[in-house]
Assembly symmetry: C2
DNA sequence: AGGCGGACAATTATACGACGAATGCAATGT
DNA sequence: ACATTGCATTCGTCGTATAATTGTCCGCCT
């Protein structure tokens, strides 16, 4: 009887259940219908109540639901969701690729990354500089078709986030990675990225020259362009 | 035999266990000694394994630990922690009030809040404007000893974050609140906040005038001053 | 008739016990 | 010395039972 979904990646039952429920919640599957009870979830997925409870507890930890006796488990308003949780963000970006969400996320990037570049200009050590330079080199190589453009782009931005030497900025690492990953098909199909490498180079040079102000404005220009692109497209 | 810690706030056993374990982890209690087994945790706290597992699962959801059979549960490196989780941030700020952490957090605020103010200048509706004005008024009142300065300050900043009309910015709501809450005893004991109200007023006026640029720079100046304060103190 | 209080029921919270699966480690044999 | 095998440990999963909480509803009192 048990579903025995051991074929799924992650192997672990609780994890797969968490994923399924998380996705269902962010796709608004329980906006009208009430969230099922533990017993119902278990029956529907062919899992025991222990597994169900652990998955629900993890959803609770991420702010997606809250549970009380007699009331049942209820989906919390989206404002209470922990958007910076990698899982939650992943589910959100996967659900249907909303341009609106992409715009909002890049509005965040335009705040974070310029400041990260400014901090990096001050705090980056030799390893950080090397990593940034490497990311840039890979972007240039990708331009010539010799490397993966997405990976290179991600590496570059992540290198700067890490070079800021601030754990809060480092936190955006996985977020930027997943967001870039899902947004690339959008931004890249619109415009050639010929200018992009130059802009990235400007950022890298400013950081290498330890010029905080220049690094900040270069990065702001870079992401600002992406935002303009999205706004232009979104306003259609 | 069971500890019956029903006197604790939050009432719920799993929650209190989560809190205890979370605090222990961020205070580095398991940096040397290995993380205990589920059975050990249960025995130590006088709780069943179910509760233990659910608490550990929540820690897993927040990125603090990872578990594998035979290997046991291990504390993940701090870089993997979900710093933007309200619980995690709370535990961190509570642990011993590190000036370094406060500085790093305000380095984040100096990225977020000016941009939020700029967005608010564009997107704020009448309710948002009213809330911002109210926060400012309360700060002024607090200046005269007629209101709680901390609450007023928090309300003001939160109002701007919400006015940005971007869920990612709204996310910082609880973070700024808790951080301000714990940092107030630090920043407030150093300098009188006479100038502070004026700076806040400048931000509010710029937003009311729908002047993004002015709002951004005013907010940047405000938090920049806080940062300078911390840097001056931290550099002793 | 209307408000109020208590019984009832539904649902999560907690607990206990058992078995399975994975895996690091050691013993063992070649 | 090395590969293989067996073992012990620990998390993973399951099932069931009981407690606690609280919304709902019914009946009683005013």
């Amino acid at each position: 009887m048990a579903a025995r979904m051991t074929g799924m990646p992650g192997g672990n039952l609780t994890r797969t259940t968490l994923d399924t429920l998380g996705r269902a919640i962010v796709t608004g599957e329980y906006d009208e219908t009430p969230f099922p009870t533990e017993a119902e979830i278990g029956k529907a997925h062919g899992i025991s109540r222990s597994v169900t409870r652990e998955a629900v507890k993890m959803l609770t930890a991420k702010g997606l639901v809250s549970a009380r006796p007699r009331q049942g488990t209820v989906v919390r308003p989206a404002a209470a969701w922990n958007l910076f949780d990698p899982d939650v963000l992943h589910w959100l970006l996967d659900r249907k690729f909303s341009v609106e969400l992409l715009r909002q996320f890049n509005q965040l990037r335009v705040a974070i990354e310029p400041e990260a570049a400014a901090l990096a200009a001050v705090a980056a050590d030799d390893d950080d500089q090397a990593r940034i330079a490497d990311g840039l080199a890979r972007m240039a190589a990708a331009e010539r078709g010799e490397d993966d453009p997405l990976e290179a782009d991600i590496d570059f931005h992540v290198a700067i986030l890490l070079a800021a030497k601030n754990p809060f900025y480092a936190q955006f690492r996985e977020m930027v990675a997943t967001a870039l990953n899902t947004s690339i098909r959008f931004t890249n199909t619109i415009v050639g990225r010929s200018a992009s490498v130059e802009q990235h180079a400007a950022v890298a040079e400013a950081i290498a020259a330890r010029d905080s102000v220049a690094a900040r404005s270069a990065m702001r220009a870079l992401i600002g362009d992406v935002l303009d692109l999205i706004d232009a497209r979104g306003a259609v």
